[in-house]
């Protein structure tokens, strides 16, 4: 399970005139689907994710996750933040077991799992390091590990690799592909990077701003498993051209 449905969801931020961040958005994600939300900054893609995560209330409409209305954050929807947002006073290990610990789960259940996940993300030798001692890419690996250990039904990722250098971003995309191709959980991935969206997602939803709307939903039929080598695949380039023209045509209309 891990189905998501947005029905006529609007979000207006209070203030001078009120900013309409989302305008009557309809959006569905099937169980196990990887959807990328692609758009320029300020198009409301992060707002959409925050509403789904339960961090922000919506103004109008309804959001359901697995059939129940979303009211508050919870471990069924694991969020990966842009800057990782690890708790800086906790070690890598303590950050990763934070979720199971506050959920009062049995140590014997989560400790082997946490160890295995840290190994998967390549941090088995850094259990005792503090976040500040890690590079940005390593911090984000911890950010992913602490979510995976909770076995969420959906992963919500808010430009998780946006702050990383190009090299590190590629290796993180590769890592995410490998992990996801095994887990097949529902993923909503917010990005402004066209390559990243095509490489990772089953479907790319292109968003436009003021007011934030999903203008087009494009299925990416590239075969799986994928890897970063697909970035130069002719089929990949075709999707890229299609999305770029979509984004450009929308800009010209406005």
């Amino acid at each position: 399970m891990g189905t998501i449905s947005f029905r006529a969801v609007s979000k207006t931020y209070e203030g001078q005139g009120g900013v309409r961040a989302l305008d009557a958005v309809d959006f569905d994600v099937a169980d196990g689907e990887f959807v990328a939300l692609l758009g320029p900054s300020g198009c409301g893609k992060s707002t959409l994710l925050n509403i789904l995560a339960g961090f922000e209330p919506l103004t109008e409409g309804a959001v359901h996750f697995d059939g129940s209305p979303v009211a508050r954050p919870g471990p069924d929807r694991g969020v990966v933040f842009q800057e990782a947002s690890l708790l800086p006073w906790l070690s890598v290990w303590e950050n990763v077991v934070f979720g199971p610990k506050v959920q009062r789960l049995a140590k014997s259940d989560y400790e082997p799992k946490a160890r295995a996940i840290l190994k998967t993300v390549g941090l088995e030798n850094f259990h005792n390091a503090l976040p500040v001692q890690l590079s940005g890419g390593m911090r984000q690996r911890v950010g992913i590990a602490r979510v995976l250990v909770m076995e969420p039904r959906a992963l919500l990722m808010d430009e998780p690799f946006g702050a990383l250098d190009a090299q590190t971003r590629l290796s993180m995309q590769q890592l995410l592909l490998e992990v996801w191709q095994k887990l097949r959980t529902t993923v909503v991935f917010v990005t402004h990077d066209i390559d990243e969206a095509i490489l990772l997602a089953d479907r790319v939803c292109v968003m436009s701003s003021r007011p934030g709307k999903i203008t087009r939903s494009i299925p990416i039929t590239l075969r799986r498993p994928r890897s970063i080598d697909d970035l130069t695949n002719p089929e990949f380039i075709r999707f890229k051209a299609m999305i770029m023209s979509e984004m450009r045509s929308f800009q010209e209309q406005h």
């Binding site: 995560a53 471990p75 933040f81 708790l87 006073w89 934070f98 005792n128 500040v132 001692q133």
Partner: protein
């Protein structure tokens, strides 16, 4: 970054060593620099005194003070009338213990209350105005009430110290709890943290840098408070000796007492700084790098 190459498990980047960054040598060099000024001041004071005193005999020179302190600290008490023989340690302990008690109480009340005020709007609206009205009342103004309530008794001093140290602790803790990064709270909620977990595992540690600022300011006020209250409301400790020695014209003891207070204040502050350095490793590294 070097840590990615070094796959040595628990190997962490070394802590910044600020002391060795000075061009004229390490810790020792820094310590020597720090005592140059006091030595010069003491020498000038010594040299300006004639016949062991200055200002027309009102102030003794450092050698006289040192002699008086030696007797006060190590002399064998007799049945004579001189109370300044071998009683220094007792006086120090009386004062230090009062500071420890009052400061401990201020921490025990101030930190949890500050966290609650910073975290909960309702608690802030109920409690914060009262604190802000009471805060301008100086600790000296609390003396009569303290004596009326507790008499010439130990707890009177402890009470004043607690009041004095409480405000900086509660105010800084409140500020720290208010400034917690939004995404830390969101991340914790997302991982299933209950309100109690948020307070204990996120807000409190996030507020610790501000808490320590409050503790250091509070400790300084605690030493002021103990001296003031011992001068008026209790019959023991360094503050009592200070006033008593003045009345009997023992300015050498007065100065030795002042130096003792300064030393205790300094040492207790170093202790807090040492705990802070240890508890906030995560932050020290952070501030050094960015």
């Amino acid at each position: 970054m070097s840590i990615t190459e070094k796959q040595t498990g628990t190997a962490l980047p070394a802590l910044p060593r600020l002391a060795t960054r000075l061009p004229y040598g390490g810790r020792v060099g820094k310590a020597i620099l720090g005592i140059v000024l006091p030595i010069l001041l003491i020498a000038a004071w010594q040299l300006s005194g004639e016949n062991g005193s200055l200002a027309g005999g009102a102030l003794p020179t450092p050698d006289r003070v040192w002699q008086a302190w030696l007797v006060w600290a190590f002399g064998t008490p007799t049945f004579g009338l001189n109370p300044y023989v071998g009683t220094w340690v007792d006086s120090v302990l009386f004062s230090a213990l009062r500071v420890a008690k009052g400061f401990g109480l201020a921490m025990a009340i101030g930190i949890p209350l500050g966290i609650m005020i910073g975290w909960s709007r309702i608690v802030a609206e109920v409690v914060d105005p009262t604190i802000q009205w009471l805060r301008p009342i100086p600790i000296t103004a609390w003396l009569p009430i303290s004596i009326a309530l507790f008499g010439i008794h130990d707890f009177g001093a402890v009470f004043l110290i607690m009041i004095g140290a409480f405000y900086p602790i509660v105010i800084n803790t409140t500020q720290g709890a208010r400034d917690v990064e939004k995404n830390w709270i969101r991340a914790a909620l997302m991982m299933g943290a209950k309100p109690r977990d948020i307070l204990v595992r996120v807000v409190l540690p996030a507020a610790m840098p501000a808490v320590f600022t409050g503790l250091r300011i509070g400790l300084g006020i605690a030493w002021t408070a103990v001296i003031v209250s011992e001068m008026v409301a209790v019959k023991s400790g360094l503050g009592y000796v200070l006033w008593d020695a003045y009345y009997v014209g023992r300015m050498d003891i007065v100065i030795a007492d002042m130096v003792s207070i300064g030393l205790l204040g300094f040492l207790s502050d170093r202790l807090i700084v040492a705990i802070e350095t240890w508890a906030l490793r995560w932050r020290r590294l952070q501030s050094f790098r960015t």
